[in-house]
Amino acid sequence: MNPAVEFNNVSKSFGNFVAVRDFSLKVENGQFVTLLGSSGSGKSTSLMMLAGFMAPSGGHISIDGRDVTELAPHKRNIGLVYQNYALFPHMTVAANVGFPLKMRHVAKAEIARRVRSALEKVHLDVFADRFPAQLSGGQQQRVALARAMVFEPAILLMDEPLGALDKNLREEMQVEIKRIQRDVGITTIYVTHDQEEAMSMSDNVVVMSKGQIEQAAPPAQLYERPRNAFIAQFIGSANVIPGFVKSNEGAKSFVSETGTTIPLQMHGAVEEGARKAAIVRPERIRFGTGNDSLAVPAVVESVLYGGTMIRYATRAGEQRIDVVAVNDGGAPRQPGETVHLIWEPKDFLLVDATAN
């Protein structure tokens, strides 16, 4: 079976500026894939090329096995949701949702029926006769979603659809979009700069930087097995410790650039002397005792009491290491206190220090 969407070595440059470079990606039918990156990473440009609003400078794009690189936007059968919703202000909600069907010469009665069912799906059937300006931001976004799906497009594209909403509404809409997407089973490509949004909604996340893919993986893999320091820092928070591997009488250890030595276990395959970055997530670090042979001694520098969580900044030698501990009701550690940091060997990752 053909992938729903395939980018094949797609590039786009504007003059001397390369916005997207050798972008290759396959999206399987029914998947929810997110392009994640900061502004200027090329994520929106990739989406606009798929929608047909920009022509690639090189490479091919196909939808369901059919090359669409040269196809006009209105012939691509793609539902597109913009950040600013792009609703037609001079049409009612029902007319907005009915627009793509009208453009496809669907009979009037059929349009009315499908508009009603699309609006029911997004719980807005009572607002059919209102104008977009009479709705709240979240409601407008749901109208845009209904409009983009009512004609049963092959794929649904969303460009920062929740960017204009406040935090609570954004979380509510994430659940809503995910529910609708799962109900309909439509292949979805979603663009955002918000990594939490990407992680919580997607089957696969494609992290982009400077027009290239850094890593494409399911959210859990991205978090647990980041390919490099850039990904580790971009997804969630991480202690990123640049340094190299040293071997001493068969026992391997990691020496940070700041000179702190951290004993290694289960990292047999790592060659000695390789310049790496060690990654350890703050919430995977626990406070142990000095008896533990793998413990790293450190001094607490500051304590941030956050209710559910307590954040510690500690220093092991010259190396700063952040720790997040669940507030278990015990007395928090105090600044100046000496602690022993321990973690599971699997949580201490050695990755490439640099991005692509």
Binding site: Y82, R104, F131
Partner: protein
């Protein structure tokens, strides 16, 4: 634009706007307005009222002068000629101005500045200069006719392009194009072109996206420009006088004749009243149309 909506569905931003609009001027600020108001009252409103009052007062209250206009087919013809000329010139102007204003929205900054200069330079040029320039171009032995007859021999006899209705329309359209383009552009450039892009992605061909989305959204601009151009064309005097023939007598030229040649101020005032009423009715119709289509306006 991001909108916040109050519980009852009223747009908060609109509420804010109207509150500001209704805020009354502070007393001290009134003094700043007074000189202008006094000047306008003394130099414009009072003379106008005195003049217009002469249309129905001539040693006693009378409708004699209005009866003269209504009874005479030749005067009614002038009203008709004025109206027809204004409507034709407005139609020609809008048909030419609209595509230019659309192009201005799509053009890059450098191209836009260049076109703006091309629009504004004639706008600053004196109307008499422009009329004489058109005479030189359009007359029997003018640029166009000489080119068509002598240079390429397309026609045997020169075409009559000036001192007739086409001549007046060319002059008027040329005069009206810059304000029409500027008004259309200033209102239409607020249209979010991503909305047109959305229509394209939803299956609309370029022409259907234009017809169903861009055109309706540009209607406020079209209405404003049409009305302004129509009101301007009703009062044209110089262009019909210079580029028109004897048959192309407009209300404005007729008023001029009454005041300067016939020296019949009462009759001239009556014709002025007719022109004023026609213009006011035009404005009234315009605002009526505007208020009816409020629902379709962009938020």
């Amino acid at each position: 634009m991001k909108m916040t909506v109050a519980e009852n569905g009223v747009l908060a931003s609109n509420k804010f706007k109207s509150k500001r609009a209704h805020r009354s001027l502070r007393p001290s600020a009134m003094w700043l307005v007074m000189p202008g108001v006094v000047f306008l009252a003394v130099a414009f409103v009072v003379p106008l009222l005195i003049l217009l009052s002469q249309s129905f007062y001539d040693e006693g209250f009378t409708f004699r002068y209005f009866a003269m206009i209504l009874a005479s087919p030749s005067y009614l013809a002038v009203v008709w000629i004025t109206l027809r000329m204004a409507v034709l010139a407005t139609a020609a102007t809008m048909l030419l101005a609209y595509p230019v204003s659309c192009y201005l929205m799509l053009a890059g900054p450098a191209m836009r500045s260049f076109i703006m200069a091309l629009i504004i330079i004639p706008f600053w040029t004196n109307i008499l200069v422009r009329c004489y320039a058109w005479m030189a171009i359009l007359q029997r032995r003018g640029l166009v006719n000489t080119f068509l007859t002598d240079q390429i021999g397309l026609i045997d006899r020169p075409i009559e392009m000036v001192y007739n209705l086409p001549g007046v329309l060319i002059g008027m359209t040329h005069y009206l194009l810059p304000p029409a383009i500027l008004i259309l552009y200033s209102i239409n450039h607020n249209i979010d072109l991503r909305i047109v892009g959305a229509a394209r992605s939803l299956g609309a061909s370029p022409s259907r996206a234009f017809r169903h989305v861009f055109l309706p959204l540009s209607m406020p601009g079209i209405r404003a420009a049409t009305m302004l151009v129509l009101i301007l064309s009703l009062g044209f005097f110089v262009i019909p006088a210079l580029l028109g023939g004897l048959k192309d007598m407009t209300l404005a030229t007729l008023i001029n004749v009454q005041f300067t040649e016939s020296v019949d101020w009462h009759f001239g005032a009556a014709i002025s009243m007719v022109l004023l009423v026609m213009t006011l009715v035009g404005i009234g119709v315009y605002y009526q149309a505007l208020s009816k289509t409020k629902g379709g306006k962009q938020p």
